[in-house]
């Protein structure tokens, strides 16, 4: 007769180099058999010290950093920082520039969500959707490349407007892209949303309640998946968003499936915003008339928030009347969104843990800053 073995937990090290961690993220898992007792995310591998850099250069010199904090939705970070500085120095942005900002930021949001869908399904073992998503995403990169000059780390907005106007070819390209992506929804539905393996792996897994969202300060699709209709574009309207008609999709159960559906529906809403903006696009200047060459705000502080693909990005600037900011704090969405991971991954399987981690849609360099 064999004596039962001593019951002990053991440590499983996930990452920092692991395909499912989407960047350099390490999670120390304390396991009991196949179940997770405790998950401890270890972040900071990509810490570049953006906040420290901000204190050592002037306002304009810090602008290119914004494309490198969250490289998947770089234009939203451009937008948030520009808005904060414009508020600080009291600069009005012309309407056409706001429209161009909205169009490009929404295109960028769709690109970010498409990449998430593709890469997430790859985590779950489905290879084909990845190819579809990247095929669609490529169109957006081409469009944005035309006017911003880069494909990934965009630095396109300036204090007071945008440096380059959009042309007819870009407008036609956007309309053609919207038409093309709308035809794809059916494919995604058949391929993914109705896929029994996908449903089994996402329904009822990684449930987050509304109360948990609030205590951890979750924003973006993480909060909306749990039924909280919190979207900065609606709740704290900025730029030209109040002029457009769009909805905030929300989930019911707060599981992975709901977060997936929220993101899929958001892409359709982004298309709606883009089309309305193209229809209503006003003529006029794309840059404010009197932009100071040397930006030297009076002492004071400002907090400006925008909605990125992952949630609320808040830019908190403290000025002491110098050409350099005294302090810039970047309130990034994934930092708070990831901090709930230890709580929701308790007593789950490693396979489900990968599914939960992916559903948070973390961009690790954004957390590390």
């Amino acid at each position: 007769m064999l004596e039962p073995l001593e019951e002990k937990t053991y440590i499983l090290n996930l990452g920092p180099q692991h395909p499912s961690t989407h960047g350099v993220l390490r999670v120390v898992l304390e396991m009991e058999g196949e179940f997770i007792v405790k998950a401890d995310p270890d972040i900071g591998y990509g810490h570049r010290g953006h906040e420290h850099m901000a204190e050592n250069r002037n306002y304009l010199q810090f602008l290119p950093n914004m494309g490198r904090v969250d490289y998947l939705h770089a234009l939203a970070f451009n937008h948030g920082y520009c808005m904060a500085v414009e508020k600080l120095i009291g600069l009005e942005v012309p309407e056409r520039a706001e429209f161009i900002r909205v169009i490009t930021a929404e295109l960028n949001r769709i690109a970010s969500h498409l990449l998430w869908v593709g890469a997430y399904l790859l985590d779950l073992g489905a290879f084909t959707p990845f190819l579809y998503c990247f095929d669609d995403r490529e169109n957006i990169l081409d469009l944005l490349d035309r006017i911003t000059g880069s494909r990934l780390t965009y630095c396109f907005y300036r204090f007071g407007g945008v440096p380059q106007d959009i042309d007819q070819e870009f407008i036609d390209g956007c309309r053609a892209f919207a038409k093309r992506l709308r035809r794809r929804w059916k494919d995604y539905d058949n391929l993914v949303t109705k896929n029994i393996i996908f449903i089994e792996r996402t329904k009822g897994i990684g449930v987050i309640t509304k109360e948990q969202c609030r205590l951890y300060g979750l924003t973006g699709p993480m909060a909306r998946g749990s039924g909280i209709p919190y979207d900065i574009r609606k709740s704290e309207p900025y730029s030209a968003y109040p002029l457009f008609d769009f909805e905030i999709p929300i989930g019911e159960n707060g599981d992975i499936m709901d977060r997936y559906l929220v993101r899929m529906r958001e892409m359709e809403q982004s298309l709606r915003i883009i089309e309305q903006a193209l229809d209503k696009l006003p003529n006029g200047p794309i840059m404010a008339e009197k932009v100071p060459k040397r930006i030297k705000p009076a002492a004071g502080e400002v907090y400006a928030a925008v909605e990125t693909a992952r949630g609320e990005f808040g830019c908190y600037i403290v000025s002491q009347g110098d050409v350099k900011p005294y302090r810039i704090k970047l309130r990034v969405p994934s930092f708070a969104n990831l901090s709930i991971l230890p709580e929701i991954s308790r007593d789950t399987l490693v396979a489900d843990f990968v599914a939960i981690l992916g559903s948070i849609d973390v961009v690790v360099p954004e957390i590390d800053r």
Partner: protein, 154 residues
């Protein structure tokens, strides 16, 4: 009005300042100044009012630190900023038992500024390597002063 309710609820705490903010200029609806040891009580009030902790950070001045807490609300647009002046070398009480999300924010403030939070369950570095022996966002006032002095001499 949420900001009125918050104002009313914060009243009994006897805080240094509870005043409406200039939203168009700063993005705040309510500006509050409190002492660091009042923060758990303030956080409890904000939690009861249904707010979430948006961000927590610190500012380093020559004479003191200032802890900056931002609170916002999911349903109603109302951003409250709470500032707590913390003398150099002192500890601040944690609010991570009230807002678990503050756990990481406090670790970040400790990591970048070296401010310790009493009662924090797990105050380790979060962004920098554990063996780092400096806090990167501390301003170096003395060195700067020396530099400018030598400049003036030359």
């Amino acid at each position: 009005m949420l900001s009125e309710n918050i104002k009313k609820a914060l009243g009994p705490l006897g805080l240094e300042k509870v005043a409406p903010g200039d939203y168009a200029k700063t993005g705040y609806h309510l500006e509050v100044a409190a002492a660091p040891n009042q923060m758990p009580a303030v956080a409890q009030v904000m939690r009861d009012q249904g707010c979430f902790l948006e961000s927590l950070t610190a500012l380093h001045f020559r004479e003191h630190f200032t802890l900056v807490y931002h609170f916002a609300h999911y349903e109603e647009l109302c951003r409250t900023v709470v500032k707590a002046v913390l003398p150099l070398g002192q500890q601040a009480p944690t609010i991570s038992h009230i807002y678990p999300g503050a756990n990481w924010y406090e670790r970040e403030v400790y990591d970048l500024f070296g401010i310790r939070f009493t009662g924090h369950p797990d105050l380790r570095r979060i962004l920098l390597p554990f063996e780092a022996d400096f806090h990167p966002l501390l301003k170096q006032f003395e060195e700067e002063a020396e530099k400018s002095e030598t400049k003036a001499d030359a």
